[in-house]
Symmetry: C3
Amino acid sequence: MENLGQRAGESLAAIRQKQPLIHNITNFVVMNNTANALLACGASPVMAHAAEEVEQMVSFAGALVLNIGTLTPVWVDSMLLAATKARELGVPIVLDPVGSGATDLRTQASLRILAVGVSLVRGNASEVLSLGDAASQTKGVDSTHSVDEAAQAGMDLARSLGTPVAITGAVDLVTDGQRVLRVANGHPLMTKVTGTGCTASALIGAFLAVDPDPVVAAASALAFLGLAAEKAADISKGPGSLQMNLLDVLYVLTPEELARGARISA
Amino acid sequence: MENLGQRAGESLAAIRQKQPLIHNITNFVVMNNTANALLACGASPVMAHAAEEVEQMVSFAGALVLNIGTLTPVWVDSMLLAATKARELGVPIVLDPVGSGATDLRTQASLRILAVGVSLVRGNASEVLSLGDAASQTKGVDSTHSVDEAAQAGMDLARSLGTPVAITGAVDLVTDGQRVLRVANGHPLMTKVTGTGCTASALIGAFLAVDPDPVVAAASALAFLGLAAEKAADISKGPGSLQMNLLDVLYVLTPEELARGARISA
Amino acid sequence: MENLGQRAGESLAAIRQKQPLIHNITNFVVMNNTANALLACGASPVMAHAAEEVEQMVSFAGALVLNIGTLTPVWVDSMLLAATKARELGVPIVLDPVGSGATDLRTQASLRILAVGVSLVRGNASEVLSLGDAASQTKGVDSTHSVDEAAQAGMDLARSLGTPVAITGAVDLVTDGQRVLRVANGHPLMTKVTGTGCTASALIGAFLAVDPDPVVAAASALAFLGLAAEKAADISKGPGSLQMNLLDVLYVLTPEELARGARISA
């Protein structure tokens, strides 16, 4: 097996060199942070959700990131339009099913987007599990299942959906139903900053724009974010300073540091 | 009269232990900060505004916070749906009538939500006064009445509406028309950071989720935010660093520090 | 020619004294930062986009700032309503055509707003050039033309539209087709923070509220933002801390410092 840390570092270098446009249709809470995290990473973010422009916008994009955090039906329609166009053009798609399982609207929206076909789904354990069992319920957007409980279900789900999944938590799990990668980077204080999961999904989009393997791209992005969070937490006094320092570290962290610091294992 | 600082500290401890879900239908400007302030406090925030899901979401919630800062009629409809369901379930409701009095849309929206019945209204003096006299006008979202001018009007309004009100300013006033509590915590630099009033309303929601007395819960939340702002301002160079440091302090401030530092008086 | 740095400083003092209300109809990504930058500058921001209230809200305003960053047709309709009312009342208008040229929706929206008549357009070179030649395309919201390439085109465009334009980049250019001002303040790290261009447009609104000459007001605002960014970058470790420090410096920077530090040339 190749050195996955090395590959993560090479992808980061490629993002900074190519500056791929990442088209986000995402929630209101995290738009500012998502855009800033993508900029810090080296990518070029755009937010566009109008049905009248999403197909045109996604045609310029290196990846499409769909996040249902503050959805309404009209936003879901735009996501479906954008996803359909992205599929047609071969643009990779990440789905972040924020709060799926908590309400029928969110679960059904996630399933409709999945039916179009996406490259990878990233969520916490409850969100991802809800896609396989629409009857399960999450408490808001927090996870009520452990990553361990979710591991087998994640593999089963990835196989049944034919879609790779990334389940993030204390240890992140990425699987396409065959391969499983675990990412041990990260810091507990991330859970006290809103939108770190959404940032993870957006960064997966950036890595997918330069690495066609969704399992490896997702693990690379999660290692990048997790390593940056470790370094940022070291100099933070709480969630406010972590949110700020994380952007600084995402910007200054080098491909070499990522190659050395990534803790990705099969 | 019991020690209100002590009770504020006990409520903070209860929030951190129970982590109540706080359902926010709020404005675009402050969503990120509101979510982060609730997380720092120990609560679990969710933002959801679609008519298709607000009733389901509020059924999981410890409190509902309605904020009309960037409203449109369709958002008001969702707020009314959510409020009606919350009333049916006994979920406490906070209304933040941002800019009420400035435009007819905002004043009328506030009055329609009030007619459903809420646990408490929090605003600046002009906003709160506009609810009693729809002819008064505010200059945007800033207060043009002093807290002193508003005190008697606040008591009258609370009685006529049958709804407790919190009027925030240099000294905060909370009254249900019978009791009056004043909170002397806070810092002038808060007025130079957007959304500190919205954060106050969200934190009142968190305290209402663990303390059924709206007057005491609001005073506790305002003392918590004000004390944190005092400590944050001590280490800030301007409004940018205050916004960040405030989240850090909300996270690290202990129940004991709150009990000691709260300046709540009858 | 008068000392333009001195005039910029006088305008900043006037903003802090008069605290003009700046009505923003802007994009979701930058609303928090825009509001905070206007507060730090000394102005009073309000965000309101409902068709039912924009005409009433703009009647209180010292300036109207229209930004099409995350537009939909219904938001464009509100912008047209607000702009029409602002014109009737003599309230100055700034248009920020974010991503114009990238999609037809954005280009057409910009052209429709321009047809109502605005005081000034601020964008990067690609965005501004797209208004003169709807066939040109931008890559998302990034500029693909240099300021030098855009200078002559900017003058031509300002003349043909009868509207002053501000083209921001490494050196900012402001022209009404007759006069040309260049602003050499700024820092490259600004390009790694989302919404610094949007902040520029909002600050131009604040300066227009106190200085009726759009070319001079825009140059003053750009010098103010650029000088603050220089000072903020000196104490920042990356884009996260720059975003925070910029708000601090906008707040503490004095009219005298602006008068001395502004690098505006004809």
